[in-house]
């Protein structure tokens, strides 16, 4: 099954054909440690290559070399037979190679058009020619199907809208080759489909595309060819139509490994968390659900549906306007994160870097941060205590890497495990996980899933919010589906098929959203639900 020959593509182009971007024997090492070994990739115009591999397999290094961000130690690249040796990103752009970063990099205060043309703003009599950039920006935005006004500032736009701008910015360079580095990591299903539509349009125009993603289903959908890296070496190159997901996983991790979710053990009848009528004006309204002890309760919905906002409110990160929260049957007043923690509610937030971890501090310090008072004796906390507490959790979560170095130097998967460990120092009654495996490799993902199940089996009530349907449906006993800030339904595991959940997630928000006027909204929300039940 595994072919190591990179020069044959499924449309039958011959080896000697020099059309396209051809990388031969790319190698890179840092301080003597090889991170990329002799990688061959052939990207033809109008072709889409799906690049897969675990974190640290060399995907980012490959794309950085092609985009001129880092220089290879060995190997060569040609474009249409002409040697291509980019020393910096601007060289790559001049040669028609653009990279769309995983993380969106925008200047929020500047306008959409200014962000698109940043660094090369056209001037007229010494000042920026606004009419010109707005007109041109509009053209590129239309190309990606965006309705965003180029004159408005980027601040306040949704992540999906910003992703469109990011693509429009790449297009404005009129590239012949585009690398998408995990564009869907921060997008929901609908936004991802939108990106795919744009990729299809680009391919029609003869643009060659490298698409990097951890989501194997979608990469199969979008790519013509799938290339897999493992430990810096190319281990597979297949036509996308001829490979299954299990085979991809096998190639990535280098071992047999079934990517399946076993059914969770049944939950108890004891209620761990009970939420009634939780509302926050303009954000979400009328949220009602119970989570049992031992239950994994999923939150599904599109990005922007209000899932994160609901769980943040339960954990005390934001304040509700109305509603009641009970933990183990007792009403709790949650005014801030501390009172949430004291009530036994722990939350692993979605944004690891901005909200979860202090990247400059060590792993051990991050893990014990919320618990220093509990871990100190006579008001004094020692490094020994911090280290020993962290080490216990390191073994439990299979964290690979040192915990006495800044946590920012660990891989994404290990960072996520450190973040999870932080909330397991003191066993929570309720554990909320918002996007628990974002930007995490397959191996770490499995450990995290098993940990979630193991915790539920000890009687913790677990809430999982995820944009990956497979993840949330595979883990959960029941799934709450949200759209437009409203709770659409709670589905049992048996009923929670991807089709059913997507249909609910896409259900229309009433034109006059109840969120605009929370008081009248109550009633209107009830009618919405009733119509749905009928």
């Amino acid at each position: 099954m595994v072919q190591t020959l990179a020069h044959t593509t499924h449309d039958g182009q011959a080896d000697g054909d020099s059309a396209g971007l051809i990388c031969t024997g790319l190698s890179k090492s840092y301080w003597g440690v090889p991170v990329l070994k002799d990688v061959d990739i052939t990207l033809r115009p109008g072709n889409v290559i799906g690049l897969i591999g675990e974190n640290g397999a060399g995907k980012s290094t490959t794309s950085s070399i092609i985009a001129g961000i880092v220089e290879a130690n060995g190997g060569s690249m040609t474009i249409d037979g002409i040697p291509y040796e980019p020393a910096r990103p601007s060289d790559a752009l001049k040669n028609g190679v653009a990279l769309i970063h995983q993380e969106i990099r925008m200047v929020p205060e500047l306008s959409v058009a200014e962000n698109i043309f940043i660094g090369r703003l056209p001037r007229r009599r010494g000042v920026i020619d606004r009419n010109r950039i707005n007109d041109e920006a509009r053209e590129y935005l239309e190309l990606v199907g965006s309705q965003t006004d180029p004159r408005r500032p980027v601040a306040g736009l949704s992540i999906a809208a910003q992703q469109e701008i990011e693509i429009a910015r790449a297009l404005s360079r009129e590239p012949k080759y585009i690398i998408f580095d995990e564009p869907s990591a921060s997008l929901g299903q609908a936004e991802t489909q939108h990106v795919f539509a744009q990729i299809a349009a680009l391919r029609q125009r003869g643009v060659g595309i490298v698409y990097i993603s951890h989501r194997l289903e979608e990469i199969k959908e979008v790519a013509d060819t799938i290339v897999c890296l493992r430990d810096g070496a190319l281990v597979g190159n297949w036509p996308a139509s001829e490979i299954t997901k299990d085979e991809m996983v096998k190639a990535m991790v280098g071992r047999d490994f079934v990517f399946s979710h076993r059914a969770p053990k049944p939950a108890t009848s004891e209620v761990a968390l009970s939420v009634t009528g939780l509302s926050k004006a303009g954000v979400f309204a009328g949220i009602d659900f119970d989570v049992h002890r031992g239950e994994i309760f999923g939150f599904a919905g599109l990005v922007g549906a209000g899932r994160t906002e609901v769980v943040r409110t339960i954990a005390g990160a934001d304040q509700a306007d109305a509603g009641e929260i009970k933990v183990h049957g007792e009403v709790v007043q949650i005014r801030n994160p501390r009172s949430g923690i004291d009530a036994g509610i722990a939350m692993v937030p979605e944004d690891r870097k901005g909200q979860g971890l202090n990247l400059d501090r060590t792993g051990a310090e991050n893990i014990t941060l919320p618990w220093e008072k509990e871990l100190s004796s006579a008001g004094i906390i020692t490094k020994k205590k911090v280290t020993s507490t962290a080490n216990k959790l390191r073994d439990f979560l299979d964290i690979r890497g040192r915990l006495d170095i800044p946590v920012g130097s660990l891989s994404g998967g290990n960072q996520q495990k450190v973040l999870l460990a932080k909330w397991l120092v003191n066993e929570p009654k309720i554990l909320i996980l918002d996007e628990p495996t974002r930007g995490v490799d397959v191996g770490a993902k499995m450990t995290i899933y098993e940990t979630i199940r193991a915790l539920a089996e000890t009687g913790v009530g677990v809430i999982v919010v995820s944009s990956e349907l497979e993840e949330v449906l595979g883990l959960s006993h029941r799934v709450l589906v949200m759209s437009g800030g409203l709770q659409r339904a709670i589905l049992d595991r048996a009923d929670a098929t991807p089709e059913a959940v997507m249909a609910l997630a896409l259900s229309n928000v009433p034109k006059e959203s109840p969120l605009e006027s929370p008081i009248d909204g109550e009633a209107e929300y009830q009618t919405t639900i009733r119509t749905q039940e009928n």
Partner: protein
């Protein structure tokens, strides 16, 4: 405090070694890397201090006398006490511009209550300390609850406190304090001036707090990433208010030391201290963006400033040129510090 039972081990998909593990390197490179590691553990400011110290020992015969060295400790005591508060605030990612004015205001308040209002001196002294803490409390409330940027909030209180200090006596100094009060800055214990003892004690207490007490360690977390700290349940606003209040109190303590040394409360005392205080903290390796810095570094920074000023006076460097040298040292300290921290990553 029930730490999860570790017997509950989740099954793992594999047990292959972690990525990126490097094979053992040769003995020679181990040696150089060990040397480098030891070198990188010596803080840059300390190396700077030793260089300056050795240079001055050769340049001036008076420099390396015990009397002169103890003198330096006395000279820097007021700035040193304030720099403790400044470090705490800078760890939080804040800044306090009001320290110099608070020094003057608390000194003038104490003097006015003693001399003009006729309060017992001990009560007046306590009131002076409370005035300093109060201004700090206002700084804390403005930044924590008013959400003012610390620069703006403390700019406002700096102006107000400076004005009040002048208003009390219409700009005139107040003199004539009890003998025991004057003696604080004129007496030594075992050869060490009392103000030096006070200075070191304040550094030691604060360093202990930062290293071992959860509420002290929290400052690093808050300064490193406030949202992470908040979501971890740390009392961010309470910590800010506490730290600004401590800084105000310490500025008042510095005010008492200055008043004692001069036997006079001056409404414009401390006006030049602000920049020295920030210079000390920055030379000591703290980052103005918060989350990194140590009191040991700050103490070394304090000695660098003290030794430099003292040495330049001994060498008859023009008083007008001395700030130029200090400026160069600030830039050099931060430049080398940035280089070494880049090397670490």
């Amino acid at each position: 405090m029930a730490i999860i039972d570790r017997n509950m081990t989740p099954p793992r998909p594999d047990s292959s070694p972690a990525h990126g593990e490097v094979a053992p390197t040769s003995a020679a490179s181990v040696n150089t890397s060990r040397f480098r590691r030891i070198m990188s553990q010596i803080p840059g400011p300390l190396i700077g201090l030793i260089v300056i110290f050795v240079a001055l020992s050769f340049l001036s015969p008076y420099f390396l006398t015990p009397r002169n060295l103890l003198n330096i400790l006395s000279q820097v005591s007021a700035v040193g006490v304030m720099s403790v508060g400044a470090l705490l605030i800078i760890l939080l990612g804040g800044i306090d511009l009001s320290v110099g004015s608070v020094l003057a205001l608390s000194s003038m308040s104490m003097a006015a209550m003693y001399k003009m209002a006729g309060w017992p001196f001990e009560v007046a002294l306590l009131a002076g300390l409370i005035v300093g803490a109060l201004v700090g409390l206002i700084n804390g409330i403005l930044t924590a609850y008013g959400k003012l940027q610390p620069f703006i909030a403390t700019l406002a209180t700096m102006s107000a406190a400076a004005g009040l200090a002048l208003f009390i006596t219409n700009g005139n100094p107040i003199t004539g304090f009890p003998d025991w009060f004057i003696a604080i800055t004129a007496t030594s214990i075992l050869g060490i001036p009392i103000e030096g003892v006070i200075l070191v004690a304040i550094f030691a207490i604060a360093a202990f707090w930062l290293k071992f007490r959860p509420s002290g360690r929290a400052l690093y977390a808050i300064g490193g990433n406030e949202e992470v700290a908040r979501l971890s349940g740390l009392p961010v606003r309470r910590a800010k208010i506490l730290v600004y209040t401590i800084a105000g109190l310490l500025a008042a303590v510095a005010g008492l030391l200055v008043t004692s040394r001069l036997d006079s409360a001056q409404p414009t005392a401390g006006a030049a201290d602000l920049l020295n205080v920030i210079a000390v903290v920055v030379i000591g390796g703290a980052s103005l963006s918060g989350g990194s810095g140590s009191l040991l570094g700050t103490f070394v920074g304090l000695l660098i400033i003290g030794v430099l000023n003292n040495g330049m006076s001994l060498l008859n460097v023009s008083a007008n040129l001395q700030p130029v040298v200090i400026g160069a040292v600030i830039a050099a300290a931060v430049l080398t510090d940035r280089k070494s921290s880049r090397r670490h990553t």
